[in-house]
């Protein structure tokens, strides 16, 4: 018999529909870790809501936890739908998958506002610097000067999801890399345990992103194959990119992306203080200046009230189970109003 967790479920109980994302897409890695985290946390899938916008990343909720209610909404508008959705039964947990385009382009405003409202939501941005689903245009997180074959050069300053979350008073902010399975899982678990918004910026390489024009460090075959087939409709199957084992706190690791470019990751030190927002912003900025992506739990504030708390709902009653007796004032009240209105 398959192993079960403390609520008696097997890993399979946390699965969704088979993925239709590209082979090698970082998003798949994230989805796997979400399932693992939920399993290890003994979450009942029925007690979790899933939300997303539109994009490859936003398709993800279909591919995990098929026993959970979910809502694949509109491009950029997930935070709004999640906010309303969570009031239905505030005792449920919620996780959202968004993309960098979904969050930092069209959805920037809602992203900021769901943060300042501190909605209790695990908000994952599967960040690949491009619009995967519409075929590789730059998103706002693309680095300045990046050149992509069919798009030319990115002229604008990048948006840093983590900095943005910190600037707008997010109460839980983390960064990770899709290929660092262990870290992603631990962060998702921590996020599920946080009572407020938790923003996870997860760098998640896109296979279609490997069409750089003049990549200096490209895979040997990469250059060749472009030369040979010259067909943007062909997407080779790739391996997921993973970090080496034993990526320790405080250490640095270089990861080679599908297009051969390199990303430098650094895990936050063991003695890093995640309760100091001012220092968190400073630390992230300094790392950015050195082209280093800091990973780990960057900031957490456990003292702020979540949005749901602010609305003083009954502790043990779901709003969506209330019926007429609790919702319609008696006739006498209307008579009173009629008498008062003048």
């Amino acid at each position: 018999m398959a192993e079960t967790n403390n609520v008696g479920l097997t890993k399979a109980d946390y699965r969704g529909a088979p993925t239709t994302l590209c082979a090698g897409c970082g998003h798949n890695s994230i989805n796997n870790q979400i399932m693992a985290a939920a399993y290890e946390l003994d979450l009942l899938p029925e007690n979790v809501l899933k939300f997303s916008g539109i994009g490859c990343s936003s398709k993800s909720p279909t591919y995990f936890m098929g026993r959970s209610f979910g809502f694949n909404s509109l491009h950029g508008r997930m935070p709004a739908v999640a906010t309303g959705g969570l009031f239905g039964d505030h005792r449920l947990k919620a996780i959202a998958m968004s993309g960098d385009g979904d969050t930092s382009n069209i959805g920037m405003g809602h992203f900021k506002h769901v943060i300042r409202r501190n909605l209790p939501l695990v908000y994952i941005v599967a960040n690949n610097g491009v619009y995967g689903l519409t075929k590789g245009q730059f998103s706002a997180t693309a680095e300045l000067g990046l050149r992509l074959k069919s798009q030319g050069e990115n002229l604008y300053m990048p948006i840093d999801i983590v900095l943005e979350a910190l600037a707008s008073s997010a109460t839980f902010v983390a960064r990770s890399f899709a290929g660092d399975a262990a870290q992603v899982k631990e962060l998702v678990k921590a996020a599920f345990s946080h009572d407020g918004i938790s923003v996870l910026d997860i760098i998640s390489p896109c296979v279609t992103f490997n069409n750089r024009d003049e990549s200096h460090h490209s895979y040997s075959w990469g250059k060749q194959h472009r030369e040979m087939i010259h067909d943007f409709n062909f997407i080779p199957k790739e391996q997921e990119i993973t970090v080496e084992d034993g990526f320790e706190e405080g250490s640095v690791q270089q990861v080679t992306m599908h297009d051969g470019s390199k990303v430098v990751l650094q895990k936050l030190d063991r003695d890093y203080d995640p309760y100091d927002r001012i220092n968190a912003i400073k630390t992230v900025q300094e790392a950015n200046q050195k082209d280093i992506l800091l990973t780990g739990l960057i900031f957490v504030d456990t003292s702020s009230k979540s949005l749901i708390d602010l609305y003083e709902l009954p502790e043990d009653r779901a709003l969506n189970r209330m019926q007429q007796e609790e919702l319609r004032p008696p006739k006498g009240m209307l008579d009173l109003i009629n008498a008062q209105m003048f």
Partner: protein
């Protein structure tokens, strides 16, 4: 209102004309005259006289001209009147044009510190020492402008023979019994009353006298009524974004809901009201809540409505109940934010890309705003679709006299929702596994489950992309077509739930009028005037779209149908032609779009002109 001149006898003595005038107060916005105007209006109402008040204000906070018109009419005509028998001029910037507005034989009251060329011989002119009396009131200097407005309340009370006890009770009501302001204001009013008695000689015919025509009525604005209706409809979630003239709807909701509802639930509230960051978010939150099983609504006006377009399409296609109040103002674009119109009809009818169709309700009175406040929530859940309520600035923000609110005559209907137990029974009952979009009843309305339902198989993934009966993603052409045809059919079923049109008249006239919303009062008044001209008409008051069979029947029975509405393009008329292509041109559009409420004078003339009279 006709023939004022004749009432003024040759010798200067006048024949009195009771309870039939329209009175306009010209002030500056931000000067606090609203209290004065409402006091007068409430006093008339308390005296049992049919009355309405319409505020013509600028899109600005302080310093620009504002006109408040109170119409008093013994026949119950409360539509906007185009003539002004009494004008009260408190604004130096407009005093000359205000003077010109007075109908011959009418009365002109003005604050006597304002310079004005009194170039009218045909009216009665009454100066008022507003500044002086305000100064004498003992109010602090900063409040003198405000207090000056109480002067005209006092003066008019004297000159129109208003019952002073009614004035007092209006003031007490306004200040919720707080003694300091009551005393301050009544002090000024009394003084002004006194002053007028001593100094003014009445030379115009207009005055009021008690009637008993306001029993069973309330005086309120449609936005408050809508909010109250929603509260009695069990609304649980409202996300909104401020916009004139809709803001006061959500604000009233916030103001009233606690007092009316908090006692019903132990240990916490049964609702949440969220001021969203914009209208995209407001509708998105409301749709999220609707999906999660809450009675959810939002309120907005034109610009916000436009921003909601994409989300409305999502709700239509994924079949999520949500109520959207559109308190219409004048568009296109930012337009005239503080003026009224019925201009969003065709937009809403087709709101969203692709093939969409929406339920629209048209309240025509404050009472009906209350009624549709709860009913819209029922319909949304019954039909599982967005329900729009189209009201307008006139109905939403002005103070209307309207029948008392009626307690819902039916229980709340939550539509087809399956909780754990129902879910278990589904398979037994229908011999099929439940599917979110599976039409087991044949009425095109399917069963939904709600987050929190713990039964295995009850969860589903909602989406705006193509889905099959089991809510699974599909791009199959037949799945798409079948589902869309079911949606079309659903709007036939909807007719079972939506309010039918109301026929006013014998039903036997050859000529008809089809109208909707806030123009009702002007139409009813027009019908009386037409009858005086020997023209009999039936009036079909539309209360919702899509069209009921009764509308088509009405059209078929008439030879000629007039469709008056407050927009440029005759938007209902456009929809009628579209839905009734065999009409062969017998419907005539009578559109008006100047930002003002419809008047019977205009409509009567428009119809008579068309009739060649």
């Amino acid at each position: 209102m006709s023939g004022i001149q004749e009432k003024i006898k040759g010798n200067g003595s006048i024949e009195k004309l009771a309870n039939d005038f329209s009175m306009t107060v010209a002030t500056v916005n931000g000067s606090g005259s609203q209290t004065s105007n409402l006091t007068l209006q409430r006093a008339f109402f308390k005296m049992g006289i049919p009355v309405s008040g319409k505020n013509l204000f600028p899109s600005n906070i302080q310093g620009l001209p504002t006109w408040y018109t109170i119409r008093v009419n013994k026949n119950g005509y409360t539509a906007r009147s185009e003539t002004h028998q009494i004008v009260v001029a408190m604004n130096p910037a407009t005093i000359q044009e205000d003077l010109a507005k007075v109908e011959p034989g009418g009365a002109f009251y003005y604050a006597d510190h304002i310079r004005v060329d009194l170039n009218r011989e045909d009216i009665s002119i009454y100066p008022m020492p507003a500044k002086e009396l305000a100064k004498d009131s003992g109010a602090p200097p900063k409040l003198r402008d405000y207090v000056a407005n109480m002067v005209y309340v006092g003066v008019l009370s004297q000159m129109l023979e208003i019952d002073m006890s009614m004035i007092r009770s209006a003031i007490e009501y306004h200040f919720s019994g707080k003694q300091t302001p009551i005393d301050l204001n009544m002090g000024v009013i009394d003084k002004a009353y006194q002053w007028a008695a001593e100094n003014l000689e009445k030379t115009d015919p207009f005055y009021v006298e008690p009637l008993n025509l306001t029993d069973g009525y309330v005086m309120a604005d449609g936005n408050t009524a809508a909010a109250l209706g929603a509260i009695f409809g069990g609304v649980q979630f409202c996300a909104w974004y401020p916009i004139t003239p809709a803001s006061t709807l959500a604000e009233s909701l916030g103001a009233y809901i606690g007092g009316l509802r908090d006692d019903l639930v132990d240990g916490g509230k049964s609702y949440a009201i969220v001021q969203a960051e914009d209208e995209l978010s407001a509708i998105g939150m409301s749709i999220g809540a609707g999906w999660a099983g809450l009675r959810a609504m939002t309120s907005t006006s034109g610009p916000g409505l436009s921003l909601m377009t994409e989300f409305v399409g999502l709700a239509y296609y994924s079949e999520i109940p949500v109520v959207i109040w559109d308190v219409q103002r004048v568009g296109p674009s930012t337009g005239l934010p503080t003026r009224t119109a019925q201009g969003d009809l065709t937009q809403v009818y087709f709101l969203g890309h692709g093939d969409t169709q929406h339920i629209i309700l048209f309240p025509s009175s404050v009472t009906e705003c209350f009624e549709f406040g709860w009913k819209a929530l029922d319909i949304a859940e019954q039909v599982q679709t967005p329900v729009f309520v189209l009201t307008d600035l006139d109905l939403g923000m002005n103070h209307w006299m309207s029948e008392k609110y009626q307690y819902p005559e039916v229980d709340m209907d939550r539509g087809k929702v399956l909780w754990e137990e129902d879910f278990e029974n589904f398979a037994k009952k229908f011999g099929k596994q439940w599917g979110r979009y599976l039409d087991v009843d044949g009425d095109a309305i399917t069963y939904r489950t709600l987050p929190g339902n713990k039964m295995p198989g009850a969860a589903y993934f909602a989406r705006g992309t193509g889905h099959d009966e089991y809510a699974a993603y599909t791009e199959d052409p037949v799945d798409w077509e079948v589902n869309m045809l079911r949606l079309k059919k659903k709007f036939k079923t909807a007719l079972k739930y939506t309010p039918k049109p109301e026929l006013i008249g014998s039903g036997k006239a050859e000529i008809g009028i089809i109208g909707y919303g806030s123009t009702e009062m002007a139409i009813l008044e027009t019908i009386d005037y037409l009858r005086e001209e020997g023209i009999e008409v039936d009036f079909l008051r539309l209360r919702s779209l899509p069209l009921h069979e009764e509308v088509i029947q009405f059209i078929e029975e008439k030879n000629l149908i007039f469709v008056p509405e407050l927009n440029r393009d005759g938007q209902l008329w456009q929809i009628l032609n579209m839905e009734y292509p065999t009409g062969c041109g017998k419907m005539k559009s009578l559109p008006k779009h100047d930002g003002l409420p419809l008047s019977a004078a205009w409509l009567t003339k428009a119809i008579l002109d068309m009739e060649g009279k």
